[in-house]
């Protein structure tokens, strides 16, 4: 081999960005792979057959999971119809909530607030329904368009209609600060975060579609810390944007891939978890470089990661929402598994 050829090959090798194992990544893989390097793995296990479904009841795509103060698990699933199911802390089925309610068409996320109310976010009706722990409708946010007045989701590159204070366009998630203010990520159609007071009165909103700081491209998930800062998973921009309580941008974390799901643990030392989920279309090329969950300090320092894509117990098949019950107990809602896993982490001390 001539020297010039060798140099040429060396340049090519550099350009093709070999990954940790020396394999060459495709351009799509480079984009999907998290930038963080040499992140320690956190050992973990998944509780088998955690949730027991009654005979004749089936999960479809599980897009939402949340726990309440007693450890009851709420699962929001796209089944034959969209359904919200409650299980106790041992995984025993308790009841169904909101069966046939006007706000359910295509589930997206569920969260439980500090009073154990259950909030269902439905992107098929553009509605968020707040249920009491007993399952009574307490408040609704958004408005379902009347039949025959169905708007069309704009195509890529087409600006959506101007966002209205009280109308969502395929909103994705809801969060609460310690004062009970309500924050909504909105969503697939709009590109903003909206703040309401605890009674559902509009306060402010932030964001427009784009990739500049403060702009959003599919805000898919959001959560609040104890100080009322808002962490928004800006999925298609592959970054978490942190806003203060008035929705002023504070900082950006862009090392952990595409945040499909974020959650923050309770307690005096809070941790932020974010899932760089494998793609929901099961593309094996992207799957090879995604599917892990990152554990971070609130300031964005990465502490570790866990998980890989797959359909076996302990593997993840497109995490869509996470509940961080405690530092080492995480519940995952997975689209392509059609189920929930209870993950117990065993970080090295």
């Amino acid at each position: 081999m001539k020297k010039s050829q060798r140099i040429c090959l060396a340049v090519l090798a550099l350009l093709s960005m070999p990954n940790f194992f020396g394999q060459t990544l495709t351009r799509a893989q480079e984009r999907a792979k998290a930038k963080a390097q040499n992140v320690p793995e956190i050992p973990y296990e998944s509780a088998p057959n955690f949730l027991k479904l009654p005979t004749g009841v089936y999960f479809g795509e599980v897009v939402g999971v949340a726990t309440n103060s007693k450890g009851h698990v709420f699962v929001y699933t796209r089944s034959y119809d969209t359904r919200l199911l409650e299980f106790d802390q041992a995984g025993k089925f308790v009841k169904e909530i909101g069966e046939g309610v006007y706000g359910f068409a295509f589930a997206h996320a569920v969260r439980v607030d500090s009073q154990d109310n259950i909030w269902a976010v439905d992107e098929g009706t553009n509605m968020i329904v707040k249920f009491s722990p007993e399952g009574k409708v307490l408040m609704v946010l958004g408005h379902r368009p009347e039949s025959g007045e169905v708007p069309v989701t704009p195509g890529f590159g087409v600006a959506p209609p101007a966002a209205e204070p009280y109308t969502f366009n395929r909103q994705t998630d809801v969060a609460f600060d310690p004062q009970g203010n309500i924050f909504v990520s909105d969503g697939y159609g709009n590109s903003r975060v909206v703040k309401y007071d605890k009674n559902g009165r509009y306060i402010t909103s932030a964001g427009s579609r784009g990739s500049e700081p403060g702009q959003l491209n599919l805000p898919h998930t959001l959560t609040a810390d104890a100080k009322g800062n808002i962490y928004v998973g800006d999925r298609s921009n592959s970054r978490i944007q942190v806003f203060d309580n008035d929705l002023k941008l504070k900082t950006v974390y862009d090392q952990v891939g595409a945040p499909w799901a974020v959650c923050i643990t309770p307690g005096p030392h809070q941790y932020l978890y974010s899932s760089n989920s494998n793609p929901d279309n099961n593309n094996s090329e992207i799957m090879a470089v995604t599917g892990e969950v990152y554990k971070m300090e609130l300031d964005g320092t990465i502490l570790g990661k866990f998980g890989k894509p797959g359909k076996q117990l302990g593997e993840f098949s497109t995490i869509h929402e996470m509940d961080c019950r405690s530092e080492n107990e995480i519940y995952t809602a997975e689209i392509n598994r059609w189920g929930v896993q209870k993950i117990v982490l065993h970080p090295k001390k």
Partner: protein, 363 residues
């Protein structure tokens, strides 16, 4: 008339095989009151002889959300015991039972359904729990100019739409060369899948055959290994691969209906041979045991009563005989969509036209 129809039938020109005598037990399955079998698209038996029927009982229906249209319902999975007594329903009101295409039972008695409109393959445990979904149902369907309403479009997807799940999230990834028509995307995103089979190691083979024209191979845990094929008529290409089966050596037999042939591949998808002369194979199966047989149905189309005969072959394609013809009567077949041959001379055939399963005994 019968002879003429065979002679002019595509691919049937040289297949005037001896007739095999047979009987049919047409009223084997007893439905409970006020429950009806629809088109019996899929039929399979388990190790105890229980019979599973994946049937199209209605049109899938659409509901309008705020900006997209969602699909529901249309098909049901019933279980019967070996005497035909109704045992129960599996997967009722689950996600993605839209247009039934196939049901198969694996050696561990797990039940696998293939749905051509939701593009899902779902593995159920014998007790009916969902063990593993494969593929993804498109989140929304397009009603109007961009596509058909569910149930009306028959899952037809234009050529070149390979792997494009409407509303299904991210695209197939970029950077590689554009895939061949029908080759699909790497992974388990199907486009009108038609059938499922396993080899002795539990590897999963899926014919992705209405929208795409490929065979995809997965390990027993559902991890994607490879796929092969694209739309066309060359060896290794497919035109509506409609059904598939494996032999004990792990070879894959694909009913390449639109090309009037069965193609045989080794376990890694390398083309070995093709079997022609048995019409347009729509449903195939291979019986177990020391001397396995290959059965293939030259099913009639739903708008005709031509053809309809089923062939019995050696695995090398040598035709041993044929039986049956298209029609509505007992011992006639109405668009056979699936055959179960867990026992060599006892076949279960699921028919689209006659809304029934016949248990066939060959003599």
């Amino acid at each position: 008339m019968r002879i003429i129809s065979i002679l002019i039938g595509a691919g049937s020109l040289f297949a005037q095989a001896p007739e095999i005598a047979f009987d049919s037990a047409p009223n084997l399955l007893k439905m409970p009151d006020r429950m009806y079998m629809g088109e019996a698209a899929g039929v399979a038996t388990n190790s105890k002889g229980h019979i599973y029927v994946y049937t199209r009982t209605g049109d899938a229906y659409a509901t309008t959300g705020t900006s997209r249209t969602f699909s529901h319902g249309g098909s049901r999975l019933f279980e019967f015991d070996q005497t035909g007594k109704y045992v129960g329903e599996i997967g009722q009101n689950s996600y993605g039972f839209l247009v039934a295409q196939s049901v198969r039972v694996d050696p561990q008695d797990n039940i696998w359904i293939v749905d051509k409109l939701s593009s899902l393959v779902v593995k159920f445990a014998p007790d009916g729990r969902v063990l593993m979904p494969m593929g993804r149902k498109p989140e929304a369907i397009f009603v109007g100019a961009r596509g058909g309403v569910p149930g009306a479009g028959r899952g037809a997807v234009p050529a070149g739409a390979a792997g494009a799940a409407p509303g299904g999230g991210r695209g197939r990834g970029e950077g590689g060369p554009a895939p061949l028509p029908g080759a699909g995307a790497p992974g388990d995103l199907f486009n009108g899948p038609s059938d499922v089979a396993w080899d002795a190691q539990g590897n999963i083979f899926i014919s992705d055959g209405f929208g795409n024209a490929r065979i995809a191979k997965f390990d027993k845990n559902g991890k994607y290994l490879k796929s092969w094929g694209s739309r066309g008529s060359e060896p290794g290409q497919f035109n509506n691969p409609r059904s598939l089966a494996t032999d004990a050596q792990g070879n894959i037999y694909v009913a390449d209906k639109g090309n009037n042939r069965i193609q045989v591949f080794d376990n890694d998808g390398t083309f070995k041979t093709e079997i022609a002369g048995v019409g347009a194979p729509t449903a195939i199966c291979i019986s177990p045991g020391s001397h396995p047989y290959l059965y293939a149905s030259n099913s009639n189309e739903v708008n005709s009563l031509d053809h309809g005969e089923i062939y019995k072959m050696e695995l090398d394609g040598k035709v041993l005989g044929q039986f049956g013809r298209a029609g509505h009567l007992i011992k006639e077949f109405g668009a056979v969509n699936q055959i179960d041959c867990r026992r060599a001379n006892e076949l279960y055939v699921g028919e689209l036209m006659n809304w029934r399963v016949q248990k066939i005994t060959l003599h």
